[in-house]
Symmetry: C2
Subunit: 311 residues, 2 copies
């Protein structure tokens, strides 16, 4: 079902095509073709039917099928107008054995960030979770978080904002947070069983609808309303390409870093490290120089300090 | 129920005690006391009832309550005569929200090792999985595997074998494998949600019942039949103490290492590293010296080479 819908969308994307031609090409009944066309119309596609066949006149602004239409990465999109948490839903799909699914929502009612921190997800934002089953050791998991940050920064930069990444995975515009990422996984040391990368972007959301207005921003506040369908497709495609070329992720992260060459304070499970962030290492550790000594930090809360701050 | 059984066992371990005294001390009915005593007898405890009260005459050789009796670590033992996989059962308990449970079995019918490798678990062995919810970052997970290897090596050494650890977590006796460990986890970068450490020890099992007889051994083959109850208690207690003093784990591992100062070949996701194993670093990486350069390996298959082997 899923597959023939994708193939109908693919055939329609190349111009008008008749029902009988579609039925022949896809080896399904004409009634099945008609059912798919009606499903697409229900999803908001405007499809005309003339002598030369079915033709797509317009694609809906957002939604699962709209994002799948023209998506150049092999993911199924499961769309919800409203959901508790896209990560929780993706974890549920993982336990059902699924993979390569993106759970996408217009609104999350119970979104959360790292360490169960509150994460506000009003309607109009971009809230999605990507479910993968990479055949990589669990120690590589942090690089997927970096890849998500790079993909997010690249996608939002296409809307015109100067987005940069604060270690490890916050996307900032002029120091204000535009996007957050939460990666969850299950596996053994040698192997990731599943990985869920949750990405939240304050897209078409006024900052008055977000907490901590001083420290956050949104695309709407920075550049006005954006095309969320296009943004989602760019994000997923960038992410897909990055994770298939693992060696490119760290260099790409460096290029978009807001953290390197800055004074930082990182709170870790073993204490606080303060100094100058001098590099990032695979799979995602920050190298901090303090009094001529280098400390490598694998995980923690990072604060950018002003030049005058700190020891 | 669980708790009052533990308290009855604790009271009985200090000598004879009457039913009314037990009922008063535990604030339960005399009928409930009697029910617990019968449950213990069903589990194989010999309990006499005289004028001075109930008294434990003997403890069963193995089983859940037998291991709980006198266990100096806060774990509930869930015992199975036969189970598919103790790790699978512990993962199931994890999704139910449980913690600090040890799933213990006399036999596993579907045991597996790292990367789904076959792992034979005939009756008479020691097959257990420890479920924890440590409040540590996911990057620390490998140290729990080291702790399990140290606890296993220490426990089996008490039976008289010269057990040592091959990186990261095989316990060997004179180069032959006595025990294997498989750690599985779920979590986010900053936090482990749950961790299951599966430990298999070829205890009272003839090597004729194990595959690859040349490369494996058992306690039965090395020193004869062992007291599995005592072995299990020592193992769990050692593990519990180690994970509560994380800084001690790596030094303890070094002391029992069979790998350090040896020529090794490690197959990793990124290729093969061959050289001299010179150290282990927190949380469990092996440092290998090759032609004067040091390579740090976080995960892989390690082979000990003879001095004459390799480049």
């Amino acid at each position: 079902m899923q597959e023939s819908r994708e193939r109908i969308l693919s055939a329609l994307s190349e111009g008008p095509v008749t029902g009988p031609e579609l039925a022949d090409d896809l080896e399904i009944s004409r009634a099945a073709v008609w059912k798919h066309i009606e499903e697409l119309r229900d999803a908001g596609f405007e499809i005309t039917s003339t002598g030369s066949g079915y033709e797509i006149e317009s694609v809906p602004e957002f939604g699962g099928i709209a994002v799948e239409f023209g998506l150049e990465a092999p993911f199924e999109i499961e769309y919800h107008d409203s959901i508790g948490s896209t990560n929780a839903r993706a974890r549920g799909l993982a336990t059902e054995g699924r993979e390569n699914v993106v759970v996408l929502a217009d609104e999350q009612t119970g979104g959360r960030g790292r360490l169960d921190r509150e994460w506000s997800s009003p309607s109009g934002g971009l809230w999605l979770s990507i479910l993968l089953r990479p055949t990589r050791p669990a120690t590589h998991a942090p690089v997927y978080t970096l890849a998500a940050a790079v993909a997010t920064a690249r996608a939002v930069r296409e809307t015109g904002v100067d987005a940069r990444i604060k270690w490890p995975n916050d996307v900032l515009v002029e120091g204000r947070k535009l996007s957050g990422i939460l990666t969850e996984m299950e596996g053994e040391a040698d192997r990731i069983s599943w990985l869920v990368v949750g990405i939240g972007i304050n897209a078409n959301v006024g900052t008055d609808r977000l907490p901590d207005r001083e420290d956050v921003t949104s695309l709407q506040a920075e550049v006005g309303e954006v095309d969320r369908r296009n943004l989602t497709q760019t994000l997923i495609t960038e992410f897909h390409e990055l994770v298939h070329d693992e060696g490119e992720i760290v260099p790409a992260w460096r290029d978009l870093s807001a953290t390197l060459d800055r004074r930082v304070r990182v709170e870790t499970a073993n204490g606080t490290v303060e100094g100058r962030a001098i590099d990032i290492e695979f799979p995602g550790s920050l190298v901090i120089e303090t009094d001529g000594e280098e400390t490598v930090v694998t995980v923690g809360d990072c604060t950018h300090l002003r030049a005058s701050e700190g020891a």
